[in-house]
């Protein structure tokens, strides 16, 4: 995500840095982390800025002793979710994933191990299943630019779609997969009339929407809008945050 930038500061944040970051976020709001460092005059990577804000500086963070209700909820949620600290913290107003994890590991871990010995048998149903490989599909965000349709054109879509389906276009044949099934929903998303395609290609040179070539069903439409790159980046950041809090 960050280029091989020279001498980005690492390690503990100084009070001066905290003040710069706070002022910057008060002014611009939390988000657009790739811009924060420059705006604030900091020499920190965006990930570092984001984590510093979310885990330490945000005014929404609540510190101090966990109440009995909170502890009870942590135990219940941990029973349900395991070490999914950010999901658990999401249910506790103002608590960070890091604080919840630390609290659990220091105060509750021992107690809970003892409790799990006499778990309610209703919660332990029959055969433990084989390990299932959990897949994480990569989300694609389709470009807004490539689908210049607004609600006023609702009518137009319907009529063009009807026209397109009545005349079997060669384009639609390209979306047959190996089983001969139509990838109908992807097909639908691309099933604009030809002028629209040309318009799109004119607008966005970097997007290949060619439908006349030897495109196979496996070549997926991967269009990521400039603005969305940032949100994808944040997704990856979340993954890293995940690894950080789940060592």
């Amino acid at each position: 995500m960050e280029g091989p930038s020279v001498s980005v500061r690492k390690g503990a944040w100084t009070e001066e840095e905290d003040i710069l970051l706070k002022k910057c976020i008060e002014k611009y709001g939390a988000g657009e982390w790739h811009l924060v460092s420059a705006r604030a005059g900091l020499n920190r990577c965006r990930k570092s800025c984001r984590l510093r804000w979310l885990n330490y500086l945000s005014p929404n963070i609540r510190r101090g002793v966990f109440t009995n209700d909170e502890v009870d909820l942590i135990i219940r949620l941990h029973k349900l979710l395991g070490n999914r600290w950010s999901l658990i913290a999401g249910r506790l107003a103002g608590r960070t994933a890091n604080d919840v994890k630390n609290y659990y590991n220091t105060h509750l871990l021992k107690k809970n191990v003892d409790r799990s010995l006499d778990l309610d048998p209703r919660l332990n149903p029959s055969d433990p299943k084989l390990n299932i490989k959990v897949i994480k599909p990569r989300p694609q965000i389709l470009s807004k630019k490539s689908f210049p349709i607004c609600s006023n054109e609702y009518m137009k879509i319907n009529t063009t779609a009807a026209a397109a389906s009545s005349t079997s276009t060669p384009a639609s044949d390209n979306f047959l997969n190996e089983n001969g099934e139509i990838m109908w929903w992807e097909n639908l998303m691309m099933n604009e009339d030809e002028t629209d395609y040309q318009l799109q290609q004119g607008l966005t040179d970097d997007i290949d929407l060619s439908v006349s070539g030897e495109q196979t069903a496996n070549e997926k439409l991967e269009v990521i809008e400039e603005d969305n790159c940032d949100s994808l980046g944040e997704l990856y950041l979340d993954d890293e945050l995940w690894n950080l809090v789940n060592p």
Binding site: G31, K79, L80, L81, G82, R84, L87, G90, S116, L119, R122, L123, N124, P125, S126, P128, K129, N131, I132, K133, V134, I135, K136, P137, R138, P139, Q140, I141, L142, K144, F147, I149, C150, S151, N152, Y154, M155, I157, N158, A161, N177, N179, E181, M183, W184, W185, E186, L188, M189, N191, E192, N218, K220, L235, D238
Partner: protein, 345 residues
């Protein structure tokens, strides 16, 4: 009126009310007629009690006499309140011995299958995919594939969707579908489903390509959860979704991702449930905390002042649940507090 009909069933020409002993949340209408009487519509109702022991009751509705019949033998205990109930779709009436029984699925701690016979209910299976038996993330919803009836997809607060083969009782696929809790799932066709999540996105998944998902809508305010998703089975281009604490029903056209084709904004409080008409691609019903159920006809061109509902129905209190009968398309069922009410369209 038949003797077995309870007195609590208020009647009028256009609605029938059934009063349950419990607060009602989950509700399912059978797509096929009751085996005992082909004119009757079976309805499964799940209780919402904030404790472990909950109930599911099956009742039947007779549209001719406008009465509701209870069946004390068609009732069972359910662990935790069911988050969703659904009868098996597209049951083949010719399917041999099972013609007098049908399957009902429920979600809660696990996905459970029940066989509803003429005068009894048997638990068939408990489908659990948690790797360690110590944890089980609650299921928020599920959907039964109507093209491939052995396939059920569940959504969970642990960010995953799980696709089950209920004949073999094995997991076909488990996907980390979203960045936060997944609140609802809906099948489009045999291998394509979509889901909504607390991360505010609607994503489409194709089981033939598990490496990718396609985000087709994101709530305008980041991380505003999307609670329900209804895929228009009459015209698969359209889906409807609702946001948490929002009075809007968002209508999506998957050909124009990220931009809703319509927003229905005539509810005065948050919308809790949406359902497409079973036999028309243009009609949708929504119900919410304003105690109203609204039926909408989607216009071909939206006017400048937004879209007004075709008809309005007011219930006694906040409506939590809504189903449009596929077997009797003149009837819509709503649930509010401890009541289930059938409304004639």
């Amino acid at each position: 009126m038949e003797n077995s009909t309870q007195e609590s069933h208020l009647r009028s020409d256009n609605s029938v009310t059934y009063e349950s002993p419990y607060t009602v949340y989950a509700m399912a209408l059978s797509p096929t007629p009751s085996p005992a009487n082909l004119n009757h519509q079976r309805i499964a109702l799940g209780s919402f009690l904030e404790e472990y022991n909950n109930r599911v009751d099956i009742i039947s509705f007779d549209p001719d006499s406008l009465s509701v019949k209870t069946h004390p033998t068609l009732s069972f205990d359910h662990p935790y309140p069911p988050t969703k109930l659904m009868f098996q779709p597209n049951r083949k009436s010719s399917s041999s011995s099972s013609s007098s029984s049908e399957l009902l699925a429920s979600s809660g701690d696990y996905l459970r299958l029940w066989e509803v016979r003429e005068s009894s209910i048997e638990p068939l299976s408990v489908l659990n995919n948690s790797k360690t038996s110590e944890f089980c993330a609650p299921l928020t919803s599920f959907d039964w594939n109507d093209v491939e009836p052995k396939r059920i997809g569940t959504s969970s607060i642990d960010t995953t969707c799980t696709i089950w083969d209920i004949e073999k009782c094995v997991v076909e696929t488990q996907l980390i579908a979203h960045d936060k809790e997944v609140y609802d799932i809906a099948w489009g066709e045999a291998r394509v489903f979509a889901s909504v999540s607390a991360d505010g996105s609607v994503r489409i998944f194709d089981l033939r390509d598990k490496e990718h998902s396609t985000i087709i809508y994101e709530s305008p305010q980041p991380d505003t959860p999307l609670l329900r998703l209804a895929w228009n089975k009459q015209d698969l281009k359209y889906m409807a979704t609702i946001q948490m604490d929002s009075n809007k029903v968002v209508i999506l056209d998957i050909r124009s991702p990220t931009m809703p084709v319509a927003e229905l904004e005539r509810h005065q409080a948050s919308v809790n449930a949406i359902t497409w008409a079973p036999q028309s691609s243009k009609h949708i019903c929504s119900a919410g905390d304003d105690t109203q159920a609204l039926i909408w006809e989607l216009p071909t061109v939206a006017g400048p002042n937004g879209i007004d509902p075709l008809c309005v129905y007011s219930a006694g209190s906040e409506i939590n649940q809504l189903q449009w009968s596929a077997a009797q398309p003149d009837w819509i069922a709503i649930a509010f507090s401890n009541k289930m009410q059938l409304l004639k369209v």
